[in-house]
Amino acid sequence: MPQDAAHAPETLLDVRNLSVDFRTPRGRVKALRDVSFPIRRNRIVGIVGESGSGKSTVLWALLGLLAKNADVMGGEVRFGDRDLLHASEAQLRATRGEEISVVFQDPMTSQIPVLTYGRQMLDILYRRPNVSATEKRHMAVEMLRKVGIPDPDRRIDQYPHHFSGGMRQRAGIAMALLTGPQLLLADEPTTALDVTMEAQIIHLLQDLQKELDATIVVVSHNLGLIAELCDDVVVMYAGEVIEAGDVREIFHNAQHPYTRALLECDPARINDVSRKLPVIPGDIPDLSKALSGCIYAPRCQRVLPVCRETLPPDVARGEMSLARCHLLDGPHRDSSWPPPLDVMTVGQGEGTAAKPARAQRDAPLLDISDLSVQFEVVGPIQARLKGLTQRHVDAVLDVSLSVAPGETVGLVGESGSGKTTLGRCVLNLLPSQAGHVRFEGEDIRNMPEGRFKPLRRDMAMMFQDPVGSLSPRKSVRALITEPFQIHGIAGVDLDAEAERLAEMVRLPKHFLSRYPHELSGGQARRVGVARALALNPKLIIADEPTAGLDVSVQGEILNLMADLQAEHGLGYLIITHNLPVVRHIADRLAIMYLGRIVEEGPTDEVFARPVHPYTRALVEGVPQPDPDRRRVHVSISGEVPSLLNRPKGCDFAGRCPVAQDRCRTEKPPHLTMTDGRRHACHFPLG
């Protein structure tokens, strides 16, 4: 830590040499080691890292709210003239909420379900005995109004479950800002939200920071959010700060090999659409074991023998900039590091596999036409009692989509768009009410399970939660050979098959005897792929294949899927909300909104020239991991309407910046443009 920066007058809070251990059954885990960085007044500081980096632990240490099994091993947190690490509980309590406040990651679980927002906000203001209850309520209402909650006078008396996710997070921000704190901590504030909502929250935080002259610390794994929102950035890896600096320095001139690799792995930063994504090999180290040398050495592309023995120096660049690497200073200094930005420093797996020759588009593997799926929301008796006429909602409405052999189709939508329902319906896991689903020409919609079962060998599904989609009490071996048993395939040597499949998904053999909870997300995902591929299917429906995976490892899975496609000519239907990822892997995209496909076409064209305003909002909604490409304003506001109140006209009309009267009264039909793209918009963008 450069001493001059630590004592610079504008430093609001200074973390110095913070070390935290966790006592676990496996021994002491050294979760934070010697963490130092300043937080400068009136700036937005981003702490960025992958899972296991300790970024959230830092945040809780600042508040003195570490888990019970945590021991602070040393260091201090200077805040004004106090050291928060060694302050009394009473002092800390006086600080929390008043001077330092928090916005939480998951607004669904971090707000008490049985109290109204009014009650919760009054509680936060308990330290103001001179302010009357009426005034406090007024303050709360005004704060809710400020964070963009419509009709706050009425909504303040509602409970958290009455609010949508985005609104809850707005209310969470209102609660945090109610007392006018000097420092606002935000723990992954948008992770639980959809893309369009994330953009709104980012801008809300930016506006509030300017308006209130606040200092904000944002903890996130999302490079786009950090680049878009922050002024200063602290990069953490496995419990250490490995680099820190101004946001532009970090994103345009990263010094540490890990920062560099992390940026290269972010699909949103890769401009050339490539079928192979870069990957940082290896896992984060086991922090319960003895550590020596550079913490990143085992995964580093530029590792030197010295890196394994000696802790690298903190090499300072500017006021608060530093990077911890042998390449930057001392006897091992390499003047050619870091290489220019267009030189890749991490590998992309073995040679770029050629795209397989595409089968003719007129012989689709899967062909969905006019499919509709309805869900019953209230039972017949209840509907009568409550006087409801509408008992069903359309989760999927008039959807047409096809997947050819060897083709990857991306089905993109926010939560509640019906994309997962559509996927499950294709596999006959849910009944549908109208339309056709044809697989190799045969209509399979609502086919009885007895007749459908043989078809399951040709169609497989990968589920969203990699570990959760594996039966918890079965070994990996049992799991990947189960398809053979289910389909009664005789004459197979199950052990040999298990090993063949493990090899195919690049899962080392000894993992076969493990159980799902002993696997990392990436490993569990491989098991899922092996299961899906066991019977040589022709079509794979993958629901959020990169969910729960860190940026540095999601490439592994996507590359594996691409290789298998090239090898076996698989058709993929990839269901995701992650536009940057899908851009690299999908040939065609279909965008879903409220159960309908609003636009469909070749991926590069959809990205380059979106036709539907919603598509444009989605494409623009992804925060760019480049601080020079910040957006000035959010393109769409509001929220996805409830399926119970499906708009009469265009589903998107209420949020559309270019909507006209016709859009509100007449549902746009699906139209095919001259270049073969389809859309559902009365006034397509030029």
Binding site: P281, V346, K474, P483, H510, G522, R531
Partner: protein
Amino acid sequence: MSENRSESETGILAVDVSGLSDHVTDAETRESAARERREKLRMFLTNWQGLTGLILVAVFFASAIFAPWLAPYDPNALDVPARLSGPTLDHLAGTDQLGRDTLSRILFGGRVALKIAAIGVSVALTVGLILGMIAGFGPRWLDSLLLLVFDTVRSFPTIVLALATVALTGPSLAVVLAIVIITSIPQYARVARTATLTLRNTDFILAERSLGASMTRTLLHHVMPNVVGPLLILAAMDVPVVVTVEAGLSFLGLGVTPPTASWGTILNEGYLVIRDAPWMVIAGGIPLILTTLGFTFLGEALRDIFDPRMGKGR
């Protein structure tokens, strides 16, 4: 960690993806599994409750099974001259109004308790598990129907239902057993149903369905292994209830019929002579308490170790 990485990987750019995330060797996997087992065993052995519970339960089983060899007297042998004797060296727990040795009667009474507990709990558990899984996995109407039945059965306080039944059939061990089973089933079924219901919508059950697994296969291979654990813990906690119901009904004279020794009948006979021979109600109660304590401790220790979320702490 680092010693597992080969030197060839230290070069830039040429990184093989296939060796990812597997610096943990086979030996380490086995070691971690063994370590986890050792850890669970250690947790159990250092848990004084668990250990006490295990010992008490073992004593309960052993004394009931070996009662004919352990008992100093024939439990039904009359010795009228020595009636209502206090605890002496000849009769460690005294004698009853017919001069029968209380200790021998307690040992033989344990057999009744064991029989009721073993049969009652295992039948109730099995039936409850099956009904619960059906309710949780079957169609909505069947679930509602079964829930209604469970609610109805549960609405009868156990003893009250037993009284009503015995009023018609007369006292017998079979009736006690039937009552115990019928009143226990709903709680097993409810736990199994809730667990099944939660599992039903998990990704892994959907994954099994998408592979084409039949309902039977899904239930037997993927639902049951995840439901049966909490039920076994519940069963350990249920043994005391079952034993108490038997003792209680026998105490009221509505359980086992007179000459047969049971903890309840000893208490019953003791209650009648409580002013003259207080040791009988004391001696009759102690094995009941020890058994209850043993199974409760055991159940809780198992729960703490295997399902820490259910009842944290202690």
